[in-house]
Structure formats: structure tokens, C-alpha cells
């Protein structure tokens, strides 16, 4: 009798274990669910159901997703996207911390890192910035190698982090100008200066020395004909008055010349391709930020601006010239954030140029007004996609 009781108890014990184990496995399956993950794994094409669950604008297939060091690059043109016109015009710009391209017909998202901005292009490479919580680094994408950081500014010690921001290529050279605080003892902890970097391991060279506690310099642009001559925005205080001024610097002779008056706050200059003009933004009397252009004259080793004229009134940011100098692209505020606009120049019979009607290029989600847009040809648009699609190493 006792024997039967033992076997019965054991059988109940095992059956109970099996039952509860089954319940537990069901629970485990519930645990494995990820209801807040809208995206399919990217090593396979998304199903229609996946696509329906994904946010608008996210490419649906990503055959190779390079992921390293916190950077997630994604190249995934929509399968239905028409190939870009190789001779057409396209733009590279930033939305929500990601690079986007548009050829005027459709837009494609190039990255999904969420912390990328400030792209700039040379004939054979792309620079952009990835910002983390305490630092930012400049990345290089080119046909020669996978995208790679060319600065290493992150440190576990917060105070030892550095910024690298707003890179531009030095025209005709394998070097770049960038805003940075690579040596905080020389710039002060609260200011960024213009530095020159190589693409290799050589140490950065400080170019500008901003006054302390005004935020530093920004918006550097280099003379296409003489890249040792640069224009940038300087922030400083005269008494209690904040000054925002365009400054011209001959790096070779260390000659610094203010280009704009202290009572005409100006910023974000951009050299025209022929180096004869700059486009820039100037604050107007009603606190609007108007688009201007002016002629740059250099005589006796010093520069000056002449014939400054207003092109567009509004809230404008970061104008850039098309490679042929015929058009300006810029960010302008509309009812809901900033959008990409362009203004082409008309050449009159007497040879004078006047700006035409502004055209809005993008609509929808706001474009990042702190990143300069980049003009691309159709071929360059394709190249940029290819450079970014290489696996990151």
C-alpha cells in the first residue's frame, strides 16, 4: 500500500512539474516577445507585415548594415526609387540626426544612427559628424575604405571628452578645417576654435584663438583659390554687448580682419566657387535672419566686403553655393520648422546677376538648420550611397 502511495505521489509530482514547466515555457515565449520593436531584423528583407509596422520613410531592405562603435549606417534606397539623373542636381541634408538625399523627385534616408550631422563633400570623400553624449567625432566615407572616424574624442572621464564639429575640406588638399576643443587649455573649456586636421594621425593644428566665454568660433569657409584664407563667425563680448561678426583670416600671415560691423550681426558665410563672393546671414531690424551676398576683395593682404545686398528676407540658415555658382541652397523657416530652399541667379543682358524666386525643395519633417546642405550631382548622390554602404570596420 505504502509502495502504491509513493508511486502515486511521485507520478503527481512529475505530472505537476511537467504541467508547470509547460506553463513556464509559455511564459518564456511571452518574455521573448518584443512588442516595442517595430523593425524586422535587417539580415532579411522585410515582409509586407513588417513594412506596415515600420515608420514612414524607413527603407525596407538593408542588405548590409554596418554597426560598430555605436555608429549605425544604413544604405537602403527604396527598391522602387528611380536611379538618379547623373547630370541632375541633388542635395544631401540632415533630418533628425540622419543623412538624407533628394534628387528633387524622391528622398532617401542614408543613415539611421540618429546622431549624425554636418556633412561636407570633396570630389572623392564625404565627411560627417557623429555626436555622442559628451563628445563628437568626424567620420570619413570614401571609395578607398569603409566609413571610419578620423577623430577619437570620447573618454570615460567626462571632462576629457572633446568636440569636433562643422568639418570642411581644405580645397585641393587632403586636409580639413574643423571646430574643436582638442586642447582645452588653449581654447578655454567653453569655446570652440578652428583647427586644421590631416586625414592621418598627425596632431591637429589650432588656427583661430577665440575670446573666452563667448562660445567660440564657428561656420568656417575656405577660399577655393587660396585655402589659407578663411572666413568664420566669431562670437565675443564688447562690454555687455554680444558681438557676432564675420572675420577673415589669412592663416599664413595670421592677419585677422573683421568683415562686418559690430552692429550688424552676421554669420554662416559661404565662399562662392569663384571666390569672388560670399553668401551669409545677417540679422535684420525685426530680428529676422536675412540672406545676403557680398563681394570679397583682397588687397594689400587684407580682405573687405563690398556691395552687400539682401537676397531673401526671412529666417535663413546655412546658405551654400551650387558648384557652378548659379544657385544658392539654404534652410528657411516655414510654419513648421525648417525646410530646404534654393534661389537661382538670373543673368541680365548687361551681365548683372539678380536672384530669382526662391523654391522650396523639401516638405514634411523639418530639416536640421544647423547642418549645411550639400549640393550633389546625380553621380555624386550615387557615390555617397556607395561609400556609406561599405561595412564599417
Amino acid at each position: 500500500m505504502i509502495k502504491y502511495v509513493r508511486y502515486t505521489a511521485l507520478a503527481i509530482f512529475i505530472a505537476g512539474g511537467l504541467l508547470s514547466g509547460t506553463l513556464g515555457l509559455n511564459n518564456l515565449a511571452f518574455l521573448a516577445e518584443q512588442p516595442d520593436s517595430p523593425a524586422p531584423p535587417l539580415d532579411r528583407a522585410a515582409t509586407p507585415a513588417d513594412q506596415a509596422a515600420m515608420p514612414v520613410g524607413v527603407p525596407t531592405a538593408a542588405p548590409a548594415l554596418p554597426v560598430i562603435a555605436g555608429l549605425h549606417l544604413l544604405i537602403a534606397p527604396s527598391p522602387t526609387q528611380e536611379p538618379p539623373d547623373p547630370n541632375g542636381t541633388a542635395w544631401l541634408y540632415v533630418i533628425g540626426g540622419n543623412l538624407w538625399e533628394s534628387d528633387g523627385r524622391s528622398a532617401v534616408q542614408l543613415t539611421n544612427d540618429g546622431h549624425i550631422g554636418q556633412p561636407t563633400l570633396s570630389p572623392d570623400a564625404l565627411l560627417f559628424v557623429e555626436q555622442s553624449r559628451n563628445a563628437s567625432d568626424v567620420w570619413l566615407a570614401s571609395p578607398d575604405a569603409p566609413p571610419r572616424p578620423i577623430t577619437r574624442n570620447t573618454s570615460p572621464t567626462v571632462s576629457k571628452n572633446h568636440w569636433a564639429s562643422q568639418p570642411i575640406f581644405v580645397p585641393g588638399r587632403q586636409r580639413l578645417f574643423v571646430l574643436g576643443d582638442f586642447n582645452k587649455s588653449s581654447t578655454g573649456p567653453g569655446d570652440l576654435a578652428v583647427w586644421e586636421l590631416g586625414l592621418g594621425q598627425e596632431p591637429p593644428v589650432q588656427i583661430t584663438r577665440p575670446p573666452a566665454y563667448a562660445g567660440g568660433d564657428q561656420d568656417v569657409t575656405a577660399d577655393p583659390d587660396d585655402p589659407r584664407q578663411i572666413i568664420f563667425t566669431r562670437y565675443a563680448y564688447v562690454g555687455t554687448q554680444l558681438i557676432e561678426q564675420l572675420e577673415w583670416l589669412d592663416v599664413s600671415s595670421d592677419t585677422l580682419v573683421p568683415l562686418t560691423a559690430t552692429d550688424q550681426p552676421s554669420r554662416q558665410a559661404s565662399y562662392s566657387p569663384d571666390a569672388k563672393h560670399i553668401a551669409f546671414v545677417r540679422r535684420g531690424p525685426a530680428m529676422e535672419e536675412d540672406l545676403y551676398m557680398a563681394d570679397v576683395q583682397v588687397a594689400n593682404g587684407r580682405a573687405q566686403l563690398d556691395n552687400a545686398r539682401q537676397l531673401v528676407s526671412g529666417v535663413i540658415a546655412n546658405p551654400v553655393w551650387s558648384p557652378d555658382g548659379s544657385t544658392l541652397a539654404y534652410l528657411a523657416e516655414v510654419a513648421d520648422g525648417f525646410q530646404l530652399w534654393s534661389t537661382a541667379f538670373r543673368r541680365d543682358a548687361d551681365g548683372t546677376e539678380s536672384p530669382g524666386q526662391p523654391r522650396q525643395i523639401t516638405t514634411g519633417s523639418g530639416v536640421d538648420a544647423t547642418s549645411r546642405p550639400v549640393y550633389l550631382t546625380g553621380n555624386q548622390a550615387k557615390q555617397v550611397q556607395q561609400w556609406l554602404s561599405s561595412p564599417v570596420k
Partner: protein
């Protein structure tokens, strides 16, 4: 042997049963707590999300076509310059100041003495008066460093509104003003709210400035973020680069004294709630310190006003009220708040006057009598006539009234 195996199997299964039974019980009884392991599981998975932040919809206008969405684009071939409608917030110029360190919270804590009505408790309430009225706006760093009921006011802005003009004056009161606070002797003015709640803060401002405070509104850190995010962000022209090596990281960490490095480039840009909070809260790396911060606060308030102006029919109002339930205290009724929002849409930028009571014109910098605190001494002979002037209708409002507009 069989029995031993069966017993072991039974024990194993019982263990499994116990474990998953516990998980099941927690899942049923404590669903919110249960979410933690699920989130952890998700975080540690090796899958990479396709888009870490939802990618925004982005359409493109045909280059030769008009934009499908309304945009204030010039439609004619008139000679330049062309005007795009500006809506960016302006900023006041302020005085210069040396850096003033954060003040320790050694002042006794008092309970909130005001019968604060949380916004949106019901849909009824009195409307705004027809005459000029004054609102005291208070902002606090209500982070982990402080008891929830005893926070300093990092921001004090006296807003005077004449709805009939319409005309608005905004006067930022430096937090470090060394003033008499009823029952507590001389203190920094930011202590008034900490020790006596809204009642003492209100009466202190009323006595010092000789004005009647009709309403107040207090907002905490998360409240500001929520307001701006609900509005879809604000467009601000950042006046100079903001580089703060020690910006408080108290909202995203358990360490109330943690910090991170902040960088906001200068120029027009769209700020989300978090970035806007960082913009108005940062004080390091700014030569004007708290005075510069006050000017930025006014600038973001104007940006909020501009944003409200662009919203159609205040459709976000119910969401806003929901968002603000725990983050805002005010004695304005919900109808009055909606009235204010509607009024904000009518006030032209030229009818808004901004003033920061900064050094050297309105204050001087120094130390408290015991030498332990850097403080700001108000220059009342300059402040009172300025405040009186600001509380009169502006010239543009007078002109508009005279012309019948």
C-alpha cells in the same frame, strides 16, 4: 535507480514550476514591474533596430512645381529681396555678470502654502480680466537634489499683459537678487518659493516691485520639456554657441550631481523639449551667466508663444493639459489659460517688451554680509521707474489703439 531519476526529474520540474510560477504571478499581479525584465531582454538582444528613432516622413517637392504644403514663399517675380515669414523668437540684450556658483540648499523647508490648482482639473473657471493683469512665472530645477515641496526658483519672470492693447512686458528677475523675504530676513529671492511656497514668492515680488500679482504659474523641468514637445518643438535663434562642460545630468541618472557636456551651435534651429530645456538652463560657459540665461528663458517663452500662434485651433490644448497635470501649478483656470493662448496669437512681436534686470544698469554684484554667498544687489532707483514704464501701454499699442486697430 529509477526512483532516484524520477525524484530528480520531479525536483527539476518543480524548480522550473516555482520559477515560472513566480514570473507568472508577477506578470499578473504587477504588470508594470514585470515590464522591466522584458525591457532588459530587449536591450540585450543582438538585433539592431531598423530605425532607432522613427524616421520622419519626408516628401519632396517637384523642382518645377509649387510646394504642396502651405509655405510662405514669394509667389511673384518681383525684384528681390523676397520675404519669407519670420517667426523666430527675438532675444533681449542683457548686462554682463561674473560667474555665480549654484547656491546650496541650506534654507529650512516649508510646506507649500498656496492652494494651488492643478491645471485642467475641470473645464470651468473664471476668465481673464479685461484690464491689465500680471502673471508671475516661476521655474524650478525640481530634480533629485531637492525635496519636491521645497525647490528654489531658478527663473522668475513677471509678465504684464494688457489684453485690450494687446501689449506684453516680460521682466526677468535675477534669481540671486539679495532682498528681504518676509520672516526670513535678507535672502536671495529664489529662496522665497522654497521656504514659503507661492504665497511668499508672490508677496515678495509684490512688495519689492509695487505691483499686484494676479496669477502665478510654476513649472518644473519635465513640465517645460513636455510643453515644448507637445507643441512639436520650438524654433529659436541661438544667439551664441552654448558650451557647458558641466551641464546637470540629473534627469537621466540616479546621481543628482552627475553632469555631461553640452554643445548647442549658434544660429536658427528647431529645438525639441529636452534641447530647449538645456538651452534655458545652461549657465556655465556663458560670460553673462544667470543674466544670459534669463535672456534665453525669455527667448524660449517667445518661441512658445510663436509656436502657439502657428497652431490651428489650439488642437493640442487637451494634450497639453494632460501633459501638465503633474508638472505645472497655477491659479489660472483652464478657460483662462485657453484665453491666454488665444491672446498670444494676437500679440504682434512689436508689442512685446523684454527686460532682464541685469548688471550693471539694474544691479551690482557682490557678497552676502556673511561673505558666504555671491549675490546680486538690486538697484531699486533704476528698477522701479523701468518697471513702471514697462507696465504702461507701449507706444505701438497706444498708436494702434489711436488708429482704431
Amino acid at each position: 535507480m529509477m526512483r532516484i531519476v524520477a525524484l530528480l526529474a520531479g525536483f527539476v520540474m518543480a524548480g522550473v514550476m516555482l520559477s515560472f510560477g513566480l514570473v507568472l504571478a508577477v506578470r499578473i499581479l504587477l504588470p508594470s514591474w514585470y515590464a522591466v525584465p522584458a525591457a532588459l531582454l530587449h536591450m540585450t538582444s543582438q538585433k539592431v533596430p531598423a530605425a532607432q528613432a522613427p524616421a520622419p516622413p519626408q516628401t519632396v517637392v517637384q523642382f518645377d512645381q509649387a510646394a504642396p504644403t502651405p509655405a510662405p514663399i514669394a509667389q511673384s517675380d518681383e525684384p528681390t529681396p523676397v520675404t519669407l515669414q519670420p517667426t523666430l523668437a527675438a532675444v533681449a540684450q542683457t548686462g554682463v555678470a561674473t560667474a555665480i556658483p549654484e547656491r546650496p540648499t541650506a534654507v529650512p523647508v516649508a510646506a507649500e502654502s498656496s492652494a494651488a490648482q492643478v491645471l485642467g482639473s475641470d473645464g470651468s473657471g473664471p476668465l481673464l480680466p479685461d484690464r491689465r493683469f500680471n502673471v508671475l512665472l516661476l521655474g524650478s530645477d525640481n530634480d533629485l537634489k531637492f525635496a519636491p515641496t521645497a525647490v528654489l526658483t531658478q527663473s522668475m519672470i513677471l509678465v504684464s499683459i494688457d489684453p485690450s492693447a494687446p501689449d506684453v512686458a516680460m521682466i526677468s528677475i535675477p534669481r540671486d537678487f539679495w532682498v528681504p523675504i518676509g520672516g526670513y530676513g535678507y535672502q536671495k529671492i529664489d529662496v522665497a518659493y522654497e521656504v514659503g511656497g507661492i504665497a511668499l514668492a508672490r508677496s515678495t515680488v509684490e512688495k519689492l516691485f509695487g505691483v499686484k500679482i494676479d496669477y502665478y504659474a510654476w513649472i518644473g523641468l519635465n513640465g517645460l520639456v513636455q510643453v515644448i514637445d507637445t507643441l512639436g518643438g520650438v524654433d529659436v535663434n541661438v544667439q551664441h554657441p552654448i558650451l557647458d562642460e558641466v551641464y546637470p545630468d540629473d534627469l537621466n541618472s540616479n546621481d543628482p550631481y552627475a553632469f555631461f557636456r553640452l554643445y548647442i551651435p549658434a544660429g536658427p534651429q528647431h529645438l525639441d523639449g529636452t534641447t530647449a530645456l538645456e538651452y534655458v538652463r545652461s549657465r556655465h560657459g556663458d560670460l553673462q551667466s544667470d543674466f544670459g540665461r534669463s535672456a534665453r528663458q525669455q527667448q524660449v517663452l517667445l518661441a512658445i508663444k510663436n509656436r502657439v500662434q502657428t497652431l490651428s485651433g489650439l488642437s493640442q490644448a487637451p494634450q497639453l493639459v494632460t501633459d501638465l497635470q503633474d508638472s505645472v501649478k497655477t491659479d489660472l483656470s483652464l478657460p483662462a489659460v485657453l484665453q491666454l493662448a488665444a491672446l498670444a496669437r494676437k500679440v504682434p512681436p512689436t508689442a512685446i517688451r523684454l527686460q532682464v534686470l541685469s548688471a550693471p544698469d539694474f544691479a551690482s554684484l557682490g557678497y552676502s554680509p556673511d561673505g558666504t554667498e555671491q549675490v546680486v544687489f538690486p538697484n531699486w532707483s533704476a528698477i522701479r521707474p523701468t518697471v513702471a514704464r514697462l507696465l504702461q501701454p507701449s507706444r505701438s499699442a497706444v498708436n494702434a489703439a489711436a488708429s482704431g486697430n
